[in-house]
């Protein structure tokens, strides 16, 4: 399967805590992307990490990539209730190719 597999499937935390979501994939990638989906809406691109990068930051988001373990993690620091959403990883196996999404991690941040 070409999709990434997110873990955990669901995560519930308090506002202010950090949230960590993991993604595993099967074969060598070109890049790996993370997306967010609010309930009933379309997906929004959050961050992309290339296969030759190990860590990337964007605001309160930190993404790591371990190509030897074929895994990535998304860390959201100092979470807010507005971060409540589903988060999907999408490994990209070739340049500009189609993306296959997994089931995502459903994050709930309680005020």
């Amino acid at each position: 399967s070409q999709q990434g597999e997110e873990d955990p499937q669901a995560l519930s935390i308090q506002e202010g805590e950090n949230a960590t979501m993991n993604c595993s994939y099967k074969t060598s990638i070109n890049n790996l992307q993370w997306y967010r989906q609010n309930s009933g809406r379309g997906l929004v691109h959050l961050i992309l990490i290339r296969s030759n990068e190990r860590e990337k930051h964007s605001g309160r988001l930190r993404v790591t990539l371990d190509t030897s373990k074929k895994s990535s993690s998304l860390l959201i620091t100092a979470s807010r209730a507005a971060d409540t959403a589903s988060y999907f990883c999408a490994p990209s196996y070739n340049q500009g190719g189609k993306l296959i999404f997994g089931q995502g991690t459903e994050l709930s941040v309680k005020p």
């Binding site: 890049n31 379309g42 929004v44 190719g97 189609k98 993306l99 296959i100 999404f101 089931q103 459903e106």
Partner: protein, 113 residues
């Protein structure tokens, strides 16, 4: 803000009706995609297009059809809707460059009675 639009946002129809879900983007992207998603579930790629007059079926078999006559427009059609077609349909586009970042529309939620 992504310039990709889907209409209708919500549609409730009876079995046997023909429906077309519209998707348009103003970014000049060559690549466009249709995904199907049931609530709380993964997205399934059902159709994609890499340019005008190019369409391919995705990883999930679908009874829907698509066309790509203009770069900006990628409609999806169901000739005879059934309750099993009830789902959310998400359209996306990308510029086909190195990153392959997708821009999504807000989705069309279809309910077939």
């Amino acid at each position: 803000e992504a310039d990709i639009y889907q209409t209708p946002r919500y549609l409730v129809i009876g079995t046997g009706k023909k429906i077309t879900l519209e998707c348009s983007q103003t970014m000049g992207h060559d690549k466009m995609y249709w995904y199907q998603q049931d609530p709380g579930m993964e997205l399934h790629l059902i159709h994609y297009s890499y340019g005008v007059n190019s369409t391919e079926k995705g990883d999930l078999s679908s009874e829907s059809t698509v066309s790509r006559i203009r770069t900006e427009h990628f409609p999806l059609t169901l000739e005879s809707a059934r309750p099993s077609h009830t789902s959310q349909y998400l359209c996306a586009s990308s510029d086909g460059a190195y990153t392959g970042e997708l821009f999504f529309g807000e989705g069309s939620r279809l309910t077939v009675l």
